[in-house]
Symmetry: D2
Amino acid sequence: VNIVEIGEDPGRPLISVIGQGDVPVDDPRYDLAVKLGKALIDKGYRLVTGGYGGIMEGASMGARQSDKYTEGDVIGILKGFDRKASNRYVDIPITTGFGIARNQIVAGSDAVIAIGGGSGTLSEIAMAWQLGRLIIAYRVEGWSGKLADRTVDGRIRYPDIDDDMVYGVDGETDAVLMLDRYLTLYMDHY
Amino acid sequence: VNIVEIGEDPGRPLISVIGQGDVPVDDPRYDLAVKLGKALIDKGYRLVTGGYGGIMEGASMGARQSDKYTEGDVIGILKGFDRKASNRYVDIPITTGFGIARNQIVAGSDAVIAIGGGSGTLSEIAMAWQLGRLIIAYRVEGWSGKLADRTVDGRIRYPDIDDDMVYGVDGETDAVLMLDRYLTLYMDHY
Amino acid sequence: VNIVEIGEDPGRPLISVIGQGDVPVDDPRYDLAVKLGKALIDKGYRLVTGGYGGIMEGASMGARQSDKYTEGDVIGILKGFDRKASNRYVDIPITTGFGIARNQIVAGSDAVIAIGGGSGTLSEIAMAWQLGRLIIAYRVEGWSGKLADRTVDGRIRYPDIDDDMVYGVDGETDAVLMLDRYLTLYMDHY
Amino acid sequence: VNIVEIGEDPGRPLISVIGQGDVPVDDPRYDLAVKLGKALIDKGYRLVTGGYGGIMEGASMGARQSDKYTEGDVIGILKGFDRKASNRYVDIPITTGFGIARNQIVAGSDAVIAIGGGSGTLSEIAMAWQLGRLIIAYRVEGWSGKLADRTVDGRIRYPDIDDDMVYGVDGETDAVLMLDRYLTLYMDHY
C-alpha cells in the first residue's frame, strides 16, 4: 500500500503549451516546444496540450525526455472522441466531443504558454485572458509573438498584480523563471 | 392555420454581432451597434448576440427599431442558466451553462460582425475563423479594428474565395453590402 | 418604429419538447407531438427541440399549425454546425458544435416535456432534473412513460414544492394545464 | 533520458467510475468504490471520475491503495474552474467550466462503471450509451441497479456484439472480468 502525502490542493500544477498543429519538425519553434516540454517536467509540472501535432507534439515529446518524466505527465485534451487521433507522446488522451470549444479546458489550466500560433492558439490565449490565467508567450512568429509583452484588452484583471500582461519570453529558461515568479501569485486568484 | 412556405434550408440567416459588454451608451460604437442591429433586421436577417450589455445590447435595441422587426428576431446566447441576466431587448434567451465556451455558438452562426471588442470578442473572431465563417469587422478601436482587412492566420480556408479575410467596414451600410456580396458564397461551404 | 413593451424578464418562456428522433409519422406518439407543439404556441410559449426528426419534427410541425404561430417560434438546438441537418419546420437552427452535450441547453430551458424517448431523451430528463427544471412526461412507451409520476432521484430539489416530481400527463391538454399550474413556481427558482 | 515504448494507441485505457457524490463513507457502496478503484489500478487501467465526493472519492482513494498506483493515475473531470473543489485523491484535476455538460467527457472515456447513482449518474449512463461505450453497472441501490443487465433503449448499437447491454456485476472482481472480456471489443468500435 502506497503512502501518499496529500495536501489541500490536489495535484501538481497543469501547464498548457499551445501553438499550431501544423508546425513541421524542422521549424525552430518545434524545437523550442521540445525543450519547453522537457523543462516543465524537469521542474515538476504536468503538461497539457490540445493533443495533436506540431507544437503540441513537440512539447509532448520533450516531456518524455525529462529524467523526471513519469507516465501520466502528458495530457491531451482532444476535440472529438477518437483517442487514436492524439499524438503518440500523449499519456492521457481526454476525449471531449466539444470540438474547438475544448479550448476552454486547455485555456483554463493553471497557466498557458504559447509558442507561435494561428487562430486556434489565438482563441486559447483570448480565453485564458478572460479566465484570468497566467499567460506566457514566446517572442516568435505567430500570435504568441504579436501578443508577448502586451495586454489582450484594457481590463484590470487583478488590481494587486501591477504588471499583469502576456509575459514575453525567448526560451524555456525564461518561461520556467516566469512560472517560478508568477504561478503561485496567479493561482491564488483562481 | 398558417400556410408556411418551407425551403430546404430552414430559417433566415443568423448574423452574430459581437463586441464588448461594457461599452457605455454614449460611446460612438454603441450607436454603431444600434444602427447595425436595425439594418440587419431591415434586410431580413435574424440577430444573435452574447445576450448581455454594451455592443450586444445596442444591436438588440436597434433590431427592435426596424419596421421589419418581429418578436423572435433577437437571440441571446447566454453563458449561464439565468435568463434574467440577458439584456431587455433579447427575445429568446438561450441559457447554455457552458460559460465562455458558449462563444463557439455565437461564432458558429452564419456570419459574424465585430464592433470593437476585448478578449471575449477576440476569442469569438478567432473561433469564427477556425470554423470557416464569414467575418466582418468595423474599423474602430478594439480587436475588430486591429483585425479588419487582415487574415487571422495563414491558412487557406477556401481556395475558391480569393480575398478571404476579415472584411473591414466603416458602418452598417458597408456591413450589409458585405453580407449581400459574400454570405451565400460562404454559407455554401458550411 | 415598433413600440415594444419590455418587462424585466426577457422573452416568452421556452418549452422543450424531447423524444426519439426516429419515431415514424404513423406512430401515435408523433401525433401527440404535433398536438403538443400546436398547443404550446396556442398558449403563447415558444418551442425548443433538438432540431432533428421524430418527436422533434412532429412538435415543430405542430407549432406551425397554431393560429398564434409567428415565424421564430420554433428553435432547434443542433449537435453540429450543419443548419441544413435540422428538420424543415425549425425557424431558428442554433448550431452548437457540442455534440450530445448540447442536451444541456435543451434540458436547461424553462420546462421540459418528454414524449417517449430513448437514451438521448433519458439524458435530457436526467439533466433537467439536475438543473432543477420543471419536467412533464407523457405516459407512453419509452423513458417518459417509465419516469412519469416519479422522482428521478431522492434529492429534495425545492423544499417548498411538496409534490416535486416528473409530472405524468396523457396529452397536450394535461401538459398545458401542468405548465399553467407549475411553470411560474419553478421559474422563480431558476 | 527515458526510453518510452510507444504504440499506435496512446495511453492506458481510461475507465470512468460514476455514482452519487453524497454517498457517505459508511455506505456499503463507498466501500465497493474503494475496492473497484484499487482493482482497476491493479489491472493497469487509469481512473477517471467526476472529481468530487462519495463514489468518486471512494474510487479515487482506492486507486491510491494499489501497489501499482503511480501518481497521475487518478483524473477528475470537474464542472467548474476550481481545482481545489476536487477530492484530495485526485492527481489530475481537469477544470472544464462546462457544468454538468462535462458529463459527456466522463461518459466518453473507454468504459464506464456505475455504482448506484442519482440523476447525474443517470445522465452519464445515458450519454455513455449514446456514445456507444462499454457500460458496467453494480447491482446495488440507485440507477446502476435499475439498469444492470438491461439495455437503455432499443437501438442496436453494434450488430456484432450480440449481448450488448449494461452489464450487471456484484463487485470489483466481476467488473474487472467484464473489462477483460469486453473492453477491446468495444474499443475497436470507438
